[in-house]
């Protein structure tokens, strides 16, 4: 099957500094990629480049086999519609309710035959997405009335309401307590398992990678359970804009590189 996302020697510069330096990798359908790296190593820029929010100086980015590097903003809207993204801190619209936030992607374009003016269908999809993150009771609330973990969960609902084939998560557990962080990771595993979504997660926490690589979702109990070494999970490590590691969890754990080992079992 063709890859859902591919980077080919992608370089991004801000002023004179290369924040992504000849980055190359591909994400296959249903695959999970965990991206580690220190703050400022280029992880967020990589996700934004994948969505066409940041334009590379050189190299080629393909989303669903379509090259997006030369596309104009309006041309990118269609291809972006097939990708969900959870931004750091959720990036929910302050002035909109939870319901309006989650409905936003559906109101902007036709998704799977759901036209922007078919409100009953949109309401149903929004409710289903919020039930998925167990926040169906917050429809009328504003983001400022929610806790950090709840905002992140609403962000997941908004990113997945269109049931995209690829979801990008930018530090989904940053700043959360361990219990809430594990709840968020369980939701991401659930999303991946139920919809066979390709997933790219940027994180500082090794535990996040471990959960993605070693847990599965049980549809009967509604909980995640250990299932060592989920086959299609690849780990990547970035340093100063360069992708310095790409491999399995076993490769990561056996790496002699001191920088890479910093992200293992912390």
């Amino acid at each position: 099957m063709p890859p859902v996302l591919s980077f080919d020697r992608v370089t991004v510069r801000f002023e004179d500094q290369a924040v992504l330096d000849r980055v190359t990798f591909t994400v296959q359908p249903g695959e999970t990629r965990i991206l580690f790296g220190e703050a400022g190593s280029g992880k967020t820029v990589l996700l934004k480049t994948a969505l066409g929010l940041v334009h590379p100086e050189s190299g080629m980015v393909k989303l669903f086999e379509q090259e997006i590097t030369g596309l104009k903003e309006k041309q990118l809207f269609d291809v972006r519609g097939r990708v969900g993204m959870l931004f750091q801190e959720g990036a929910l619209f302050d002035s909109a309710t939870v319901e309006e936030n989650v409905a936003y992607p559906l109101l902007n374009r036709s998704v799977d035959g759901v036209k922007p003016d078919r409100f009953p269908e949109i309401e149903r999809r929004v409710l289903r997405a919020l039930e998925f993150v167990e926040l169906e009771h917050t429809l009328e609330k504003f983001p400022s009335e929610l806790s950090g973990g709840m905002r992140r969960r609403v962000g997941i609902a908004r990113a997945t309401v269109t049931e995209p084939a690829l979801v990008l998560y930018d530090s989904p557990t940053a700043g959360l307590d361990p219990i809430t962080a594990n709840t968020i990771m369980a939701l991401i595993v659930k999303e991946r398992e139920l919809r066979n979504t390709a997933t790219v997660i940027v994180t500082h926490r090794y535990q996040d990678g471990q959960i993605m690589g070693n847990f599965r979702y049980d549809t009967t109990t509604g909980k995640i359970f250990p299932s060592p070494r989920v086959a299609n999970t690849i780990f990547m490590v970035m340093r100063d804009g360069r992708l310095i590691f790409e491999g399995t969890q076993a490769d990561l754990e056996s790496s002699p590189d001191a920088y890479i080992r910093k992200f293992v079992r912390r």
Binding site: K48, L51, L53, E73, K74, F77, R80, G81, V83, M85, F87, Q88, E89, A91, L92, F93, D94, Y104, P105, N108, R109, R158
Partner: protein, 263 residues
């Protein structure tokens, strides 16, 4: 040596030229979007309400006091020449041509350029602008164009109100408190002093000032960097730049109208 001076001069000028280029591009896109779908009518109405209705109390207060103070200032000067009866003419010409548009624009600039810059700046630093783009919306179409239309439409209306309230303030001061002239003479001279060109002059200015205020506010908001501190900086920059541009453009428009033959 010459090369070094040249390079330093370029380094010095580059940020300003870059900013001017970015501002021109943003303005071009905002104007082009007026004629492109989708149109965000609800956002335009909401912004017009916030900018127009929200600014009404402060515009009325300022208009009233500027008219009253002008009448008070003129009372002695006109009495020296035995022309106290002309106070209505002076208040109306000064208000309609100059003070009404400029004072209203400065007030709206202080109130709304800052509001626009801080709102959009907060959205920028919390990645809401990126989220908007990721979810298929053009932020210029959704955020900038409605503010541009709303400010350009409401500022002339606010200016008309400020002019009328100012004339009323002048009337109260000169006819009721100082007994400089009769009510009839005040309003007749005020009305006769104005011709069609003055009215056009007094309405074109706020239309252009409104565009400047909205575009500067949005521009500063969209290029906010560096968290909450950055939002504060963008807010200040927006008010200062919008106010300075109001004065510069005021001079230019006045020069054009002064050098034009009377219609």
């Amino acid at each position: 040596m010459l090369y070094e001076v040249h390079a330093r001069l370029l380094d010095f000028l580059q940020p300003s030229i870059q900013a001017l280029q970015d501002f021109t591009i943003l303005s071009g896109q905002a104007f082009r979007n007026i004629f492109r779908k989708p149109h965000y009518g609800e956002d335009i109405a909401m912004q017009a309400d916030g900018i127009g209705v929200g600014s009404l109390p402060i515009v009325i207060l300022t208009g009233f006091f500027s008219g009253a103070v002008m009448a008070l200032q003129m009372s002695k000067a006109l009495a020296q020449y035995g022309a106290s009866g002309q106070v209505g003419q002076i208040v109306s010409v000064t208000l309609v041509r100059e003070l009404g548009p400029v004072l209203t624009a400065l007030l709206v600039s202080g109130r709304n350029a800052s509001g626009i810059a801080s709102e959009i700046g907060s959205m920028k630093v919390t990645e809401q602008i990126d989220a908007m783009r990721a979810l298929g919306t053009d932020p210029i179409q959704k955020l900038v164009t409605p503010r541009l239309i709303a400010t350009a439409l409401t500022l002339p209306l606010l200016t008309i109100i400020a002019d009328f309230v100012g004339l009323f303030g002048g009337y109260l001061m000169s006819c009721v408190f100082l007994n400089l002239t009769t009510s009839n003479q005040y309003w007749t001279t005020a009305y006769r002093a104005l011709d069609f060109q003055d009215v056009v002059h007094g309405l074109i200015k706020p239309l252009i000032f409104g565009m400047i205020i909205a575009l500067v506010g949005c521009f500063e908001g969209l290029r906010t960097k560096g968290g909450t501190q950055g939002v504060g900086r963008a807010t200040t920059e927006a008010v200062v730049k919008a106010s300075v541009w109001v004065f510069i453009v005021d001079l230019m428009i006045t020069q054009i109208f002064v050098s034009m033959p009377r219609w």
